[in-house]
């Protein structure tokens, strides 16, 4: 009983955490909280299923294909939905533009792929039962992504540039750092991470057009709890949410699980608007 809850919870939690990492990546260079990370997960699942399951290309090619679509979508998001509205960021117009971008891809996929969840192919065929790859693939991917990002930020020049742009885009530009290019790269990278979540989690989630909305919300909860910008918070929050969700489904079940999740989330957000690991508010006057 409890083992199932733990295993399933950690697996789905890893998916949520990776979506959270995607949120953070986009936020890091633009201070924009985007509506698109969930859709990136959906792209990973749907296009992975299409390339490998329907077109039957080899695994590595299908993986690259799905990631490619997501990276392109990330590029599109930055270009169309973020860059034009950065100047008036206090008006939060990016909420509307990224929402529009998210809805657009969701509808296109709904029309092209269909509205029923379709199967996601078994990738390696490893493990069975609770040790099946569908449970540990997301977890492995999540940790690899997290470690990769830590190394990137701490050890590489690009990573340092990312941090610089995140702290002060204008100052970075004055130093000669190509802030626009970095932002574009960060959105493409966010696309990759989000799609990774959907691809590795595809066997759990199935290839379903409506995944985007679910993942956008459940991937945001770790961010809200952990504070945006904190990858560590995203991980902890993600796992916590995944386990909580599975436990609630088991012990309570039914409609009210969703209600309770939302209600708890809103309450938490009101109590700790910056999140548990979040940064302090900037000077206003």
């Amino acid at each position: 009983m409890l083992v199932t809850i733990l295993v399933a919870g950690i697996a789905i939690g890893a998916i949520y955490a990776m979506i959270g990492l995607s949120y953070n990546m986009m936020y890091s260079t633009s201070k924009v909280v985007s509506f698109t990370p969930g859709q990136l997960g959906m792209i990973g699942a749907v296009f992975g299923a299409w390339f490998i399951g329907v077109l039957e290309v080899p695994l590595w090619l299908g993986f690259l294909g799905a990631m490619g679509v997501a990276v392109a979508y990330g590029f599109f998001t930055e270009l169309v939905a973020v860059r034009p509205v950065l100047k008036s960021i206090e008006q939060h117009l990016y909420v509307l533009t990224t929402l529009a971008a998210a809805l657009m891809i969701q509808q296109v996929v709904a029309i092209w792929w269909g509205t029923d969840p379709r199967p996601f192919p078994t990738l390696f065929g490893l493990g069975a039962g609770l040790a099946s790859e569908k449970y540990w693939l997301p977890v492995v991917a999540c940790f690899l992504a997290f470690i990769g990002l830590e190394l990137f930020y701490r050890k590489t020049l690009w990573g340092a540039a990312f941090i610089a742009v995140a702290e002060d885009a204008e100052a970075s530009r004055a130093l000669g750092i190509p802030d626009v290019r970095i932002r574009v790269v960060s959105y493409c990278l966010a696309g990759f991470i989000g799609a990774l979540a959907g691809f590795m989690g595809g066997q759990l989630l199935l290839a379903f057009f409506a995944l985007g909305a679910t993942l956008t919300f459940y991937g945001f909860v770790p961010i809200a709890m952990g504070g945006i910008g904190s990858n560590r918070g995203a991980l902890i929050g993600g796992f916590f949410l995944g386990i909580l969700q599975q436990a609630a489904n088991y012990f309570v079940g039914g409609v009210f699980v969703g209600v309770v999740t939302f209600a708890v989330f809103i309450t938490l957000l009101l109590l700790v608007p910056r999140g548990l690991f979040g940064s302090a508010v900037a000077r206003r006057v």
Binding site: A81, V85, Q91, V95, Q107, F217, I266, L270, R284, V285
Partner: protein
């Protein structure tokens, strides 16, 4: 917004609001006439589409206040529609309430939940707030689905039935039209009032709004409550129009549609969102073959509106129909108009700072400062950059809390009071970078200064109280006088964002004057001013002083400070370096060393 009726502002007796907008009124009358006659000309299908548009408009009118005026991104508003619909339906079906009573109850339920939805907006912004509204709407539909005994669960329940003749399609059409007109009336009253201006100020220049004493929390919550009432009643009408409601009628797509209806019309406008509502209710019916793509097209529309026409249809129309005069610069100021503005109202109070210290982390911005400003005097505050001048102003106006020492104004100890209270105490200030509300006219910006003096309550204003109109007129007159006093008379009807930088500085001063303050805090008002403009400024300051107002002048223009001040304090690294009459301070060797130079 307002026409460039230059004649209107020239006379001191301002014509009533309605006469300033004949074109808009005729257009409104034509639209209403069309709406009334519609059932005679079209079949029941088109009439029912019209009914739906009216029902949506009742909700959109309220949502316009929230998104358009208050600038809160309430993306998930369909939950309030659902609450109104279910409240009315349950009361009629299960408790046999008469339909109109159920309609009122739906409004009350909407008020309660509108208030609850508004609470997060006090702490959360942008994406976070949008998410909470989405969460709220999801909770509502889930509860509607799960609480079967009350709501019928997935099967839903019949909607309310209004008494004859309102239960026929034609009768109900007129009921919906009537409600839509009522909603428009409420929206218009609030939008053109003190509260409407306050909302836009909070949206676009929150710091300035706070300094004007706008009670931000109360204003936001009361706006959400009114929107909730409208949404709730719209819900009841929606249920009656559908004759049967189920949870799957209240989709996320509908929330997005509502959102677009406001945006496409233009934020902070009325006619625009009305047109937007009509178009977007009609569109799916005309573009039936495209129904599969409808959600995609709405998303594209949302993107296009935000990127290309952020002002919406209203801005587009404005560009076509309303000529905007270019700013012609300042007039000569007419200080004698100040008497009309300030009159005898400035109550004399002394501002005293004793041993005030303020640090940020390790930095001691203020390190034990003593200053006293007496009524009817100008107290100059000078010093090098980083000496703590602006910090001191921020401490007095309540944006920073002093770590130690006392700040007393008259009888009141300011430490205990929040920043929004400063205006009520008679403390007015300008900002280093002018903070004006770009989307309001110059006149409306000036009127903001008197926000706190407006006594008519929100509900009374919404219902069109005569008292509110009279008060508004009086404040408008005072603002006109203030603008004339500072020399902005001819620019009164421009949008504040069309003013040049220096003109905006004078606008800030006018706004402060309208507040009828006891003390005026000026933060580097001469920065960027030409020689002539500085002379105007000096004359203005002297006249304000002569009417008994205390003035604390933070400045870098040493000449101006020494010419106009009665006392001068020099700050350096957070401490008072020198203090006294201008002549003394000017020749003080330490001051010359630290700041003035040889």
């Amino acid at each position: 917004m307002m026409p460039t009726g230059l004649e209107a502002i020239a006379s001191t007796d301002l014509p009533p609001l309605t006469r300033q907008r004949p074109r808009a009124l005729w257009a409104a009358a034509a639209v209403i006439g069309l709406a009334v006659l519609l059932p005679a000309g079209v079949n029941q299908y088109w009439m029912q589409i019209g009914t739906l548009a009216f029902v949506y408009w009742v909700l959109i009118a309220g949502l316009d206040l929230i998104i358009g005026y208050a600038g809160q991104l309430a993306v998930g508003f369909v939950g309030l529609l659902a609450i109104g619909a279910y409240t009315a339906s349950i009361l009629c079906e299960k408790a046999s309430w008469p339909a109109f009573a159920a309609l009122a109850a739906a409004g009350a339920a909407g008020a309660l939940f509108g208030f609850l939805v508004g609470l997060p907006s006090l702490r959360l912004k942008g994406f976070y707030f949008a998410m909470t509204t989405l969460g709220f709407s999801t909770i509502v539909t889930q509860v509607a689905l799960g609480w079967e005994r009350l709501t019928g669960g997935g099967i839903g329940l019949p909607g309310p039935m209004f008494p004859a003749p309102l239960d026929s399609p034609v009768g109900f059409y007129y009921l919906a039209l009537g409600m839509a007109l009522l909603a428009t009336y409420l929206l218009r009253n609030v939008a053109f009032s003190n509260f409407g201006r306050g909302l836009v100020a909070v949206r676009d220049a929150e710091v300035a709004a706070e300094a004007m004493g706008v009670p931000i929390t109360r204003l936001k919550l009361v706006t959400f409550t009114l929107s909730g009432i409208l949404a709730g009643m719209a819900g009841a009408l929606f249920a009656a129009r559908q004759t049967y409601i189920t949870p799957d009628a209240f989709t996320f797509d509908l929330s997005v549609l509502f959102f677009i209806m406001v945006l496409i019309g233009g934020r902070g406008r009325i006619v625009g969102p009305m047109i937007g509502t009509l178009i977007l209710t009609l569109l799916p019916e005309i573009a039936a073959p495209l129904v599969m793509w409808s959600n995609f097209l709405y998303a594209v529309l949302l993107l296009l509106v935000v990127l290309i026409v952020p002002g919406g249809i209203a801005a587009f129309l404005e560009r076509l129909f309303v000529k905007t005069a270019k700013g012609e610069g300042l007039d000569a100021p007419a200080p004698e108009r100040l008497n009309a503005v300030l009159g005898q109202h400035a109550s004399p109070k002394v501002l005293t700072l004793q041993g005030v210290a303020l640090h940020f982390g390790g930095v001691r911005a203020l390190d034990g400062v003593d200053v006293a400003v007496r009524p009817g005097t100008v107290h100059g505050l000078i010093g090098p950059n980083g000496s703590g001048k602006t910090t001191l102003l921020n401490a007095v106006s309540g944006f920073y809390a002093a770590n130690s020492g006392r700040i007393v104004f008259g009888e009141a100890d300011l430490a205990a009071r929040p920043s929004a209270d400063r205006a009520a105490l008679g403390i007015a200030r300008t900002f280093q970078t002018p903070r004006v509300v770009g989307n309001l006219s110059v006149l409306e910006n000036a009127m903001l200064g008197a926000y706190r003096q407006f006594t008519t309550s929100f509900p009374a204003v919404a219902l069109g109280s005569r008292h509110g109109v009279i008060e508004d007129r009086a404040i408008r007159q005072r603002a006109a006088d203030a603008l004339a006093a500072v020399g902005l008379r001819r620019l009164a009807h421009l949008r504040a964002e069309q003013l040049q930088h220096t003109e905006q500085r004078f606008l800030e001063i006018a706004r402060c004057l309208v507040m009828q303050p006891s003390i005026l805090l000026l933060d580097e008002p001469a920065a960027g001013l030409s020689h002539d403009e500085i002379e105007h400024l000096q004359a203005l300051i002297e006249h304000i002083r002569s009417l008994g107002v205390a003035i604390l002048l933070v400045e870098h223009h040493a000449d101006l400070v020494f010419q106009v001040s009665d006392e001068v304090t020099v700050l350096d690294v957070g401490r008072v370096l020198a203090h006294g009459a201008p002549a003394e301070v000017r020749i003080n060797p330490e001051v010359i060393n630290a700041y003035l130079g040889a």
